[in-house]
């Protein structure tokens, strides 16, 4: 292998993914991923502002340098967790599902060399947690406690080591797992691992965070107490080592941290190289072997005896696409559970009576379904989406059919959750009426907004079911979900605290406004379909 040539080729591929190269003239124009980078920069700036405010507040409240370093360690460990949870799957997907893998496999390259090339390819895709969390945290920390020049010089290396630790070890473990389990459905296996990890962390948060929050005292004091209590443990984590290296400490501490961080990263990469050499060829071969459906029917195609309206045809197709991609289905079901549980986080802080809690749970579930189901609808079709432009059907009919289809899937889950929660909370008819008056418009709006997000930011070439939108799209989708949840919960709270006609207005008026917004979003979806979703 000619490393210089390979590196040059990958650098060119990266440049071409960011800039469109004019064919007639050597002109570089920005492309979609560049706009995603801009969004990542905005997110990093927001994170930096938050960290800067936190560090400044801690310093003002008399936090010691050790406490500030512990806080920085916590932020860096958070970035590590983000890497592990959200980007490991992306790395392994890159490793076993990228389109150029067959080219690399037939080239005279060792498995370790392929692993190295693909890990290099994964850098831009997985750098987001470092850029959005770790780097802003370092910069914000330096505002409060200026770092020496040597620390700044070492910072890129520290970040690189932080990147290598979770991804190297995670890649090794995943490859070992995929080599042992039936890996013919690699994508699904990866999705399941990611979903389970995500669920585990979420449930942990659900039980731990409220208890921290419920302790008495000012929030800042609570943060200080928490950081102080966790400082000894944090000092033994990669984030703690990195914080010591950047934030200063005794010479002995610096040396120990540098050694620990470098050793952990080296061990992690070595483990990945070992696993790559041992398992990658098997996993790659298995990933490319198509698997026949169990018990596939051998019979003539069945065509419905009656004419099938577009809406019903789209509903049937979407149902089959969702149900047969069991990673996506698992993700949707897990997402439904987690979104429903979100309001429980506030229980220890603000006791809610049952109807309000049920309403809040169903509202978050409804908004979440816009992301989990509707935003996935377009990308899930992959190249099949071109039929929206080939078939003699108006774009608005497609948009409405898709709204109904995604809405029906979401409604089924909301109905199940609603029936269970309503039965458990013994809701009365009045409570049901008030709940449905909010939940149904919220569901319609979130589905329309989710469809729009998927139509604009969907990636038909997705490899990870958790990342069917572009990076920028995921940020936009997350912002829209947060805005919707915040809006609906605020309106609900204001409505409940307003007596008489004002309360009634707050309960029903948002529904009307949501219907209007839903219509606008559906029109935007239709325009996107007419313009060509996958172009």
């Amino acid at each position: 292998m000619n490393p210089r040539g390979v590196l040059l080729g990958r650098a060119r591929a990266l440049r071409n993914s960011l800039f469109e190269r004019g064919r007639a003239r050597a002109v570089l124009r920005p492309r979609g991923p560049l706009y995603s980078l801009a969004l990542v920069a905005v997110a990093a700036w927001i994170a930096h502002s938050g960290f800067a405010a936190l560090f400044a507040a801690l310093a003002r409240s008399g936090a010691t340098p050790a406490e500030l370093r512990a806080m920085l360690a916590l932020a860096l460990d958070l970035a590590l967790a983000g890497l592990l949870l959200f980007d490991l799957e992306s790395v392994v997907s890159t490793l076993i599902l990228d389109r150029d893998l067959d080219l690399l496999r037939v080239a005279p390259l060792s498995s370790r060399a392929i692993l190295g090339i693909k890990l290099l390819d994964a850098v831009p895709r997985t750098a987001a947690p470092l850029v959005v969390v770790a780097l802003p945290a370092l910069l914000a920390f330096a505002k409060t406690r200026p770092a020496p020049g040597a620390a700044w010089l070492a910072a890129p290396l520290v970040l690189a080591l932080l990147w290598a630790i979770p991804l190297g070890a995670g890649t090794a473990l995943t490859l070992a797992l995929l080599a042992r389990v039936p890996a013919r459905r690699v994508r699904e296996s990866l999705g399941l691992v990611s979903t389970l990890a995500f669920t585990g962390l979420w449930l942990l948060n659900l039980f731990v965070l409220p208890r921290i929050a419920s302790e008495a005292g000012e929030p800042l004091e609570r943060v200080r107490a928490l950081v102080l209590a966790a400082a000894p443990a944090l000092a033994l984590t990669p984030g703690g080592w990195a914080a010591t290296l950047f934030g200063g400490g005794a010479p002995g501490d610096l040396a120990r941290s540098a050694l620990a961080l470098t050793g952990a990263a080296a061990a992690s990469v070595a483990l990945a190289a070992f696993a790559g050499g041992r398992h990658l060829a098997i996993v790659l071969a298995a990933a490319r072997t198509p698997v026949a459906r169990a018990g596939a029917r051998r019979r003539r195609p069945r065509i419905a005896a009656r004419r099938v309206p577009l809406v019903l045809a789209v509903m049937r197709r979407d149902r089959l696409l969702f149900v047969r991609d069991w990673t996506v289905l698992g993700d949707v079901l897990t997402g439904a559970l987690l979104w429903t549980l979100v309001p429980l986080l506030s229980l220890p802080l603000q006791p809610l009576h049952s109807p309000a809690l049920v309403r809040a749970m169903l509202l978050t579930l409804s908004v979440g379904m816009g992301y989990e189901i509707a935003a996935r609808a377009f990308p899930l079709e992959r190249r099949g989406a071109e039929w929206m432009r080939l078939a003699p059907i108006p774009a608005r009919s497609w948009a409405v059919a898709r709204l109904v289809s995604a809405g029906s899937l979401a409604l089924a889950l909301v109905a199940i959750a609603g029936a269970s929660l309503g039965w458990a909370a013994r809701l009365g008819p009045g409570d049901w009426l008030a709940t449905l008056g909010l939940v149904l418009p919220a569901l319609a709006l979130s589905i329309a907004v989710g469809l729009w997000t998927g139509a604009v930011f969907g990636d038909p070439n997705w490899t990870s079911p958790r990342a069917v939108l572009t990076i920028g799209g995921r940020l936009v989708a997350a912002a829209l979900v947060v805005a919707q949840v915040a809006g609906w919960l605020t309106l609900t709270a204001v409505g409940e605290s307003s007596p008489g006609p004002a309360g009634w207005l707050f309960t029903w008026l948002p529904g009307a406004v949501a219907a209007g917004l839903c219509a606008l979003a559906t029109r935007a979806v239709a325009r996107r379909i007419a313009a060509g979703y996958s172009h």
Binding site: E20, G22, R23, A24, R25, P290, V291, A292, R293, A296, R297, R298, R299, R300, P301, R302, I303, A304, A305, R306, R307, V308, P309, L310, L312, A313, R316, R317, L320, L321, R324, D325, E381, R382, R383, G384, A385, E386, W387, R389, L390, A391, P392, I393, P394, G532, H535
Partner: protein
């Protein structure tokens, strides 16, 4: 139905990608009952032309009429009058061929009995009946191509646009497709087929259009193109017409 209108009429079509002119003032016609071969080297503008005809790309200039309906004026009516076999099939990976064809039949509002009959017949001809229950993601390249062809012809449109339709097909399927296209032509329907296989074009097509750098270089029956060139083949003619002066031997 406009029985006298040609299945396809392209008038002065131009399409650009940025500064690159992919199709440059192209005009051509597919008459009823005619199979027209669309030939050109890589990057000549064949796929772009077919995508513009299918409404997947908007023309920068010119007009496309499908069976008498101007695509820009009545896109939905025009879409109902053609079937496209794209270079890369537009399939749903997690549907079976049967389910996929059922969905396509619903999109084109094909009466159910007719759709069932045609789907069965097309799958039978392409020896796909046994695979009707397999998911498309598990099907081979050739099987997927066959399903794509079946989907394009399911509503029996006046015009079939085929972009490299023989890709991945075995000899049996190639013969089946040729027979199918000839039968369509015999019924007065039009076919525009883009291909690199000059032998196929020579034997299958009634007329051939050769384009290079987005411009039409020649048009006529294979016999007309070979006229006056003793011992020449269509390949010789093609190479002569599509060689750049600076690279020509």
């Amino acid at each position: 139905m406009e029985s006298t209108a040609p299945p396809l009429r392209i008038e002065s079509l131009t399409h650009r990608y940025g500064d690159l002119i992919a199709v440059d003032g192209l005009s051509l016609e597919v008459l009823p009952g005619e199979i027209v071969g669309f030939l050109g080297p890589n990057g000549a503008g064949k796929t772009t032309t077919l995508r513009v005809c299918a409404g997947l790309l908007a023309p920068h200039a010119g007009r496309v009429s499908i069976a008498g309906v101007v695509l820009g004026d009545a896109p939905l009516a025009a879409r109902a009058r053609f079937g496209l076999v794209p270079d890369e099939p537009f399939l749903y990976e997690r549907l079976t061929p049967g389910e996929f064809l059922e969905f396509v039949a619903a999109l084109y509002d094909v009466p159910p009995a007719l759709a069932a009959h045609r789907a069965g017949e097309l799958l039978e001809r392409f020896e796909l009946s046994g695979a009707a229950g397999e998911l498309l993601e598990t099907c081979s390249r050739g099987m997927r191509q066959k399903v794509s062809i079946a989907a394009a012809l399911l509503h029996d449109p006046p015009l079939a646009l085929l972009d490299e339709p023989l890709t991945g097909l075995d000899p049996h399927a190639v013969r089946a497709l040729k027979d199918l296209l000839r039968e369509r032509a015999a019924r007065g329907l039009g076919v525009l087929v883009s291909t690199h296989l000059l032998e196929v074009a020579e034997r299958l097509c009634d007329r051939v259009v050769i384009i290079h750098r987005g411009k039409k270089r020649a048009e006529g029956t294979p016999a007309e193109l070979l006229a006056g060139r003793a011992d020449a083949t269509l390949e010789d003619v093609f190479l002569a017409l599509t060689s750049d002066p600076e690279t020509a031997p």
